[in-house]
């Protein structure tokens, strides 16, 4: 059972308070009708299958109900950081440096 930091509540809480919500930083196109079939397919279905640090979304479903973003290592399962929805991707190199 992981511990997860909710960037909205600023609390570190056990995993069952949260729900996984897929890969992060996949923005819905502003005008989907302008996309080719291939572009739309990629938006719908194509996802990174990272071994190692992965940008992903979680929702504090049993708490404040906010969606937020996280960087989690899919090998160790550990979270490197969490941050609010809409914030830019954190610098991975700096995060990994911070882990050492």
């Amino acid at each position: 059972m992981l511990l997860i930091h909710c960037p909205y509540c600023d609390e570190t809480l056990p995993e069952p308070e949260f729900a996984y919500a897929g890969e992060a930083h996949i923005d819905r196109p502003a005008d989907p009708q302008q996309l080719s079939d291939e572009e739309w397919r990629d938006f719908l279905f194509i996802r990174t299958n990272a071994k190692g640090p992965h940008y992903e979304r979680w929702r504090h479903i049993n708490g404040c109900a906010r969606f937020f973003n996280a960087v989690r290592d899919t090998v160790s399962d550990k979270f490197l950081t969490t941050y609010k929805a809409g914030e830019a991707r954190p610098d991975l190199a700096k995060l990994l440096e911070g882990q050492k």
Binding site: M1, A19, P32, Q33, L35, L44
Partner: protein, 998 residues
Amino acid sequence: MSAYRVESHGRIKHHQPVSFTFDGETVEGREGDTVASALLANGKHLMGRSFKYHRPRGAIAAGSEEPNALIGTTRSEGRFEPNTRATVQEIYPGLKTESQNSYPSLKYDIGAINDRLYMLFSAGFYYKTFMWPRSFWDKVYEPFIRRAAGLGVSPTVEDPDHYASRYLHCDILIVGAGPAGIAAALAAGKSGAKVLLADEGAEMGGSVLSEPGVNIDGCSAWNWLEARLDELRGMENVTLMTRTTAIGYYHQNMVGLCQKLTDHLTTLPEGAPRERLWRIRANQVILTQGALEKPLVFHENDRPGVMLAGSAQTYLNRYGVLVGRRPVVVTSHDSAWYAAFDLADAGAEVQAIVDLRDKVQSELSDEATKRGIRVLTSHTVTGTSGRLRIKSIRINPLRGSKAGRAETVNCDALLMSGGWTPSLHLFSHTKGTLRWEDDTKAYLPDQKAEACHIAGAGRGLWGIGKALTDGGEAGVAAATAAGFTTIAEAYPVENDREGTGISLRELPTDRSPGKAKAFIDFQNDVTAKDIRLAVSEGMHSIEHVKRYTTNGMATDQGKMSNMNGLNIAADALGKPQTEVGLTTFRPPYTPTTFGAFAGYHKGSHFEVTRKTPIDDWAEENGAAFEPVALWRRAWYFPKPGEDLHAAVARECRATRESLGIFDASTLGKIEVSGPDAVEFMNRMYTNPWTKLGVSRCRYGLLLGEDGYILDDGVIGRLSDDKFHVTTTTGGAARVLNMMEDYLQTEWPDLKVWLTSTTEQWATIALNGPNARNLLEPFVEGQDMSDEAFPHMSVSQCTVAGFPARLFRISFTGELGFEVNVPARYGRALWENLWEAGQQYDVCPYGTETMHVLRAEKGFIIVGQDTDGTVTPDDAGMSWAVGKKKTDFVGMRSLSRPDIAAPGRKQLVGLLTRDSKTVLDEGAQIVADPKQPKPMKMLGHVTSSYWSETLGRSVALAVVQGGRDRMGDSLYVPMPGKDVEVEVTGTVFYDPENARLKL
């Protein structure tokens, strides 16, 4: 007085006799005995039969690592447990125990024939023996495997006990209360940190309990132990838990503990849970689990009376039991010498100490000589005799790696030691890495993956003095890491027995190694030969060797067998140990009951049941219920003598002819509020919302971004900036999650809030020609005429004096209303309507009638008539898609090539040519039932009912190109017949919607 009980030894209460039974025979033990120690005190080594060969077996160990002595225990009716380790189960008056894997009796067992047929059961026998002849599978092999594939027998009645669980947050968790654990707890406890010290045993002390001769800090070991445990008990910040096994070590220092609360008690306290599963979240974890002794691998090393030397020492010093009066000791490690000395000092005539090493320390041989014990260094053991208990052993001098001429020595027990293995199971659960130390032939902890510390024998430090020092240091390190300050004490220790040894594979023998039954995994009957055979047959990965031989897969999870198995496999492979690697350690550390995992969640607490405010009324009025998502819903209301079909037919008739009343409270309700509410609705739903007037409703269709129907429901506009959205019962949480996702992450600029109001409102649906007649007198603040309040309207008014959201909508095709009132008023409103409705013969109906009535009108149920691959057009609902809209969730997908292509499955109606035949839901549809198999399947039946209204069956189905097949005949193959059906439209009843306009 038994010949094996030593009154001067042990921590048990010698003056407190306790009787229990073993295989029906009364056995007398002492308070504090385990089943195994009590049986051994009575000279009984034979405790069970092995799994595969049914060989007679006795206890080989004294703790939870025991692979052989598995028993069934019975406390009372229903309180039966199989596969309990006799070495762990404490005795109490009235306990009934029985041996396993034996028929008709433990001493004369038919299954022992397998032992003679051992050639059939060698490594991989599952894959070889059972391959031929094929016809043997059903009658011979499968029944054999079924009988064999499980130890003991399952309980046959429901477990009357209950189980508890608890979360606990602490600064420092210490696993194992031996010398290292206690020293760690003392150091950490003094820092003020919140400390939890857990031990699987009935009492704390670990190896100190088996070493009363050691002096610590100037006291005898046991006095020291008592004083220091008292000190810990006196610390408010320290919790001590016995009979508590750490079963698994999970992410971020979460450790699962299973605490046995009542299995040792004579009488059960009323209502007390039997076990409690603790989920500990610790800032720091200290693992002080000690080490496990390894058996030696030689021919017939499994005979009852052959036992680990350290365990024999424990039986003597903790339980006052000599496991034999004339034992022989065979060892490659110093520790067994000390066991021999303790037994000799307690009155045993030790026949010989056989050491495989050339030389031992002179202190050891001097001590042996002093006690008159014959010492044979550079000797090996090559066999044992005795039917149900060891009578003699063969001892051979070693000439290099060969065994010389054998000598037979009589004995009544054989104590062996092949060295010690640090217990690293929990550490390995964390994915911490291990390193191989060739000197001691042991794996030791290397890189940590969690905030944990390992101390004592768990990292290869032998002796109580080293364990105390190391434990104290670990306590300081953990406290410091958790933000506390403390110092470690010094523990001067006298008479410590540190000891060294070597590690071996199969012992040399003067007989054919191919015939040796030298066991490694005692419970699964895996021999050294099996491991070598597996390697020679091509199993080169240690994980393959494990599965092919089943080595380490018994209930002891390889505690006894893994290291010997790995050493031998490495030798057979001709590789160094480090290249062979280790098999994976998995939780739980010891077998754990299902009850402990289930905790409170059994019986009526197994699952959450959501109930509506009207649920009680339904129950009082005889409703049959069905589960829908987590809800229980009234399914139908049978009158005496009615079955489902009769009740539903009556409910349908009553509703269509006069009036039906239905509890629709489970429908999901979401309030969408804010200045941008209409824009949000436009983006989410397929339909256009801008022009929907206040007080008007619209059927809304929600797609996934992939273009498939996800949910539907009627949506009312309460004001310019507020919508009352309804969802399907099962889809409510999913829809809210999806809406929140878009709102929070895609369109955070929209000023909209979403709130689930499912729980706030009780919803009562009235349907039928008399619906308005019943309702009108109760309504204040809304003109109920058709002109003022037409179909698809919503009003905030008062019904029966309660504030209400009143909808005029219909899911039946009849004149219909849905009254929402605050939930606690739901029952009162229902009863008001029920009473007044008697003049119209109002009929309560359930979900089944609701399903029939809507199917007659061709209204879909999302998830029944759709399956996640149905687009609005597939469902014949293009009318619900706003033609002028430029975007909504899923819109772009509707023009993807596959979705726009012809020949998709479309929702149609089916009418059976024989009107009495009701199709099976889910049945496949074909054009020609005579075509060769496999037939081309065109689609399937999604909804099928007997329609009482129409006097015939009706069905909905998805069929390839269905709308181009109107009037065609298709076939539905059902058991025993092919049913001919006609493809029709989906609306079977009142296609003009005349009945809505009353």
